[in-house]
């Protein structure tokens, strides 16, 4: 969809837009132009364990970091630029215009950072936020356990006092994405077994290099293995690593989940119109129709249906953001999570339908790289309605919190 022009952008934002555009044209490494869909997962993940990073990626990080633009809305004191969300949006719009990756992405920037801003103490903010802005440390999420997935409040990772200044952690996390590549992990741990489920949980930060922390890889159905189980065996952690109050970690945990859902929602928001472009391109390739109306009416209808749903979804992200800014209804991240993830799955399903037999390859010369990776991405997309709180759990949240439907007594 192309854009209707709008005359209401404030003069200040317009000026900022022009400034950012000039800055990027000037300073962004040419090799990165046009390389990224510019979603919240597309960019430099940072961390000390990251394999070789292209020099231009680091240079892009450096020039943006110098202006606080890796985390534009964070306060300057912690490495951000202290800008409003409207400014940040302008910034990302301009990056997307140029197809530039975000200079720093990941769970540090999208999840633990905003959570520390809200719940962390000054020392914690100063210790972690600037390092996240610089992409120096990479974070992973230690929430799920073998018996605490949807029922997250059931976490059992033991967290017991060990001397006056430390806790001792024992237990296991599971589905910890990228644990093997991360420097730090934020965990939900059980500090009070006698209390009611939600009441005995503490939110704690752990350096992955602490003795006793062991991540082990798990392969996904798509063949990739970002997944890990993470074992904790007598892991000593300073008490100062607790975020918020001891036994009051559930509040922190929920706030972080809100950030996670909105990150997932946005990642699917992507570049408006991109779904349509991608599917039309696939259709032209697989239906052997380089131009004009697509020859298969059913496939064409399907492409249009998915693309229209995406357009409505984009507009909804927009509307909810504006409503928030106008003091309207609060975050409805659960809606975004459900719609975004199911939409993404439908997009891949439509693509797989277009690919037909070309979508059935796992490896080998009969398939081109694009076909092969599409197939795997389709498989990966099945996780979208599970990770970050399954669709069913989001529906429970909407039913109760938004619609006010009664709980089972």
């Amino acid at each position: 969809m192309s854009q209707p022009s709008e005359h209401s952008e404030s003069a200040e934002l317009r000026e900022f837009r022009a400034e950012m555009r000039a800055f990027m044209r000037e300073e962004a490494p040419k090799s990165l132009l046009g390389t990224s869909p510019c979603g919240p997962f597309d960019g430099y993940w940072g961390g000390k364990l990251h394999p070789e990073v292209p020099a231009d990626v680091l240079r892009w990080r450096d020039v943006t970091l110098a202006r606080g633009l890796t985390a534009p809305t964070w306060p300057k004191a912690y490495g951000g630029a202290g800008l409003t969300f409207a400014h940040a949006k302008v910034l990302y719009d301009e990056m997307r215009e140029l197809g530039l990756p975000r200079p720093v992405v990941g769970f540090g920037f999208a999840m633990i950072g905003p959570t520390l801003l809200q719940f962390g103490n000054e020392e914690q903010k100063l210790q972690h936020l600037p390092a996240i802005c610089a992409g120096e440390i990479r974070w992973c999420q230690g929430y799920s356990e073998p018996n605490a997935g949807s029922d997250l409040a059931n976490v059992q990772l033991a967290c017991e006092p060990d001397g006056p200044d430390h806790y001792m952690l024992n237990g296991q996390k599971v589905w910890t994405s990228h644990a093997d590549r991360s420097d730090w992990i934020f965990c939900l741990a059980r500090t009070d077994r006698a209390a009611k489920k939600q009441k005995g949980i503490t939110f704690i930060l752990v350096d992955m290099r602490t003795e006793g922390v062991t991540p082990r890889k798990i392969e996904l159905i798509s063949g990739a293995s970002p997944f890990c189980e993470t074992f904790f065996e007598n892991v000593r952690v300073p008490r100062s690593n607790v975020v918020g109050e001891v036994n009051a970690g559930w509040t922190v945990a929920k706030a972080l989940l809100g950030h996670e859902r909105s990150m997932i929602g946005q990642s699917i928001g992507r570049d408006p119109g991109s779904t349509q472009r991608e599917l039309v391109k696939l259709a032209r390739k697989h239906l052997d129709a380089p131009e004009g109306p697509l020859p298969d009416a059913l496939q064409r209808d399907r492409v249009a249906a998915v693309s229209m749903e995406e357009a409505a979804f984009q507009l909804t992200l927009d509307r909810l953001a504006q409503a928030r800014a106008a003091g309207g209804p609060g975050t409805e991240s659960s809606i975004m999570k459900i719609v975004a993830t199911e939409l993404k799955q439908r997009r891949f399903e439509a693509g797989m339908a277009l690919a037909g037999a070309q979508g059935l390859g796992w490896e080998g010369d009969a398939f081109d790289d694009e076909d092969l990776s599409y197939t795997r991405e389709w498989l990966r997309s099945r996780a979208n309605t599970i990770e970050g709180g399954s669709s069913e759990v989001q529906l429970n949240i909407i039913a109760k919190a938004v619609l006010g439907l009664p709980e089972v007594k």
């Binding site: 969809m1 192309s2 854009q3 209707p4 022009s5 709008e6 209401s8 952008e9 934002l13 317009r14 022009a18 555009r21 719009d93 215009e97 928001g269 408006p272 119109g273 349509q276 039309v280 259709a283 032209r284 109306p293 697509l294 009416a297 064409r300 209808d301 492409v303 249009a304 249906a305 693309s307 229209m308 749903e309 357009a311 409505a312 979804f313 984009q314 507009l315 909804t316 927009d318 509307r319 953001a321 504006q322 409503a323 106008a326 409805e332 809606i335 459900i338 719609v339 989001q394 529906l395 429970n396 909407i398 039913a399 938004v402 619609l403 006010g404 439907l405 009664p406 089972v408 007594k409």
Partner: protein, 395 residues
Amino acid sequence: MSVVVSNGQETLTLVLDEEQQMLRSTVRQFVDQHAPVGRLRTLRDARDERGYSASVWSEMAELGWLGLQVPEAHDGLGLGFFDLTVVLEQCGRKLMPEPLVSTLLLGAQALMLGGTEAQQAAWLPGIATGEKVVTLAFDERGARGNPHAGKALAARSGAGFTLSGTRVGVLDAHVADLILVSAQVGEGGPLGLFLVDPKAAGVTVTRHVALDLRNAGTVTLADVAVGAEALLGGDAALEVGDGGVALVDRVLDRARIGLAAEMLGGMEQAFEDTVAYLKERVQFDRPLGSFQALQHRAARLYCSIALARSAVLAAARVVDQSGDPREVAKYAALAKVRASEAFYDVAREAIQMHGGIGMTDEHDIGFYLKRAQTTLVTFGTNDALRARWAELNGY
């Protein structure tokens, strides 16, 4: 995130400003007070000859709502299309059968988009005051809503035209003071819109009551002679191509958006009523709403309504903010398709969740399904509009 924002252009405003919020709440109050859904049943059972309430209509005119978008020069308030959709949404909540769609969405839009100064001066003030009902006749049996597929013909004769053909599903035809008829100007020629007096010689209007209890009719034109001034916009109107989007399409695009706004109101009300019912109806010693199977379905409807709402608001804004007919056409298809899908889902689930009572004529909820099915078909079905979207997007 925005629809878009390239070339330094900013996003659409998808929230109501203060005045629009006020407008919404006054209309809502009015509708709650004067237009209960049960009125449809009463009008039907009384075989009311109009099929709507003349007094409600004239009160709405007095409040300025009928002339909201009519330019001040023609006795209106000169507000935007967006403001009009704010009113339509609220009227849609109670499925109001007053001739809003015909007069404000078809008639007035056609006149404003394509009318000459004289044509506008002759009709717009009467629309604003509620004295004139104006409708559009564009569909035929077999054409299935495609305004370009019909056979109605306008043959040039002397300085004027001779019109012939049969149009179906003409909203409020039996009460219209003016029927705008689209017809091919000469076989295979461009589509023109003609101002036809329903009482003119050769014009026959038969009323039928539609599924949703609104009024539609069949209009037959048997060699109806009209003057040159009956062509909307004059001969010049036949020459503008608008990048492939003809006047009839432009009118229908706006009608799609306005109708989608009405549908939005309808789905919201049906959904609220259903959620309220789920909270109050007890079975197995607990409220229905505590059953997860129902909770999840209700939550899904909520998401679907959220998407429809965004699409409708965006489309309404685009009409005011972008003059580009192709842009409006895309958003119109989007709004209508999202609204149709959501309204239909909400309406059918509403009956299901009400159980037996939902199937009775006595309960209002059934009216929403009838309206959902009607609007689904009106001004383009989902598949037709998806095809239009694909075409407008170049595939």
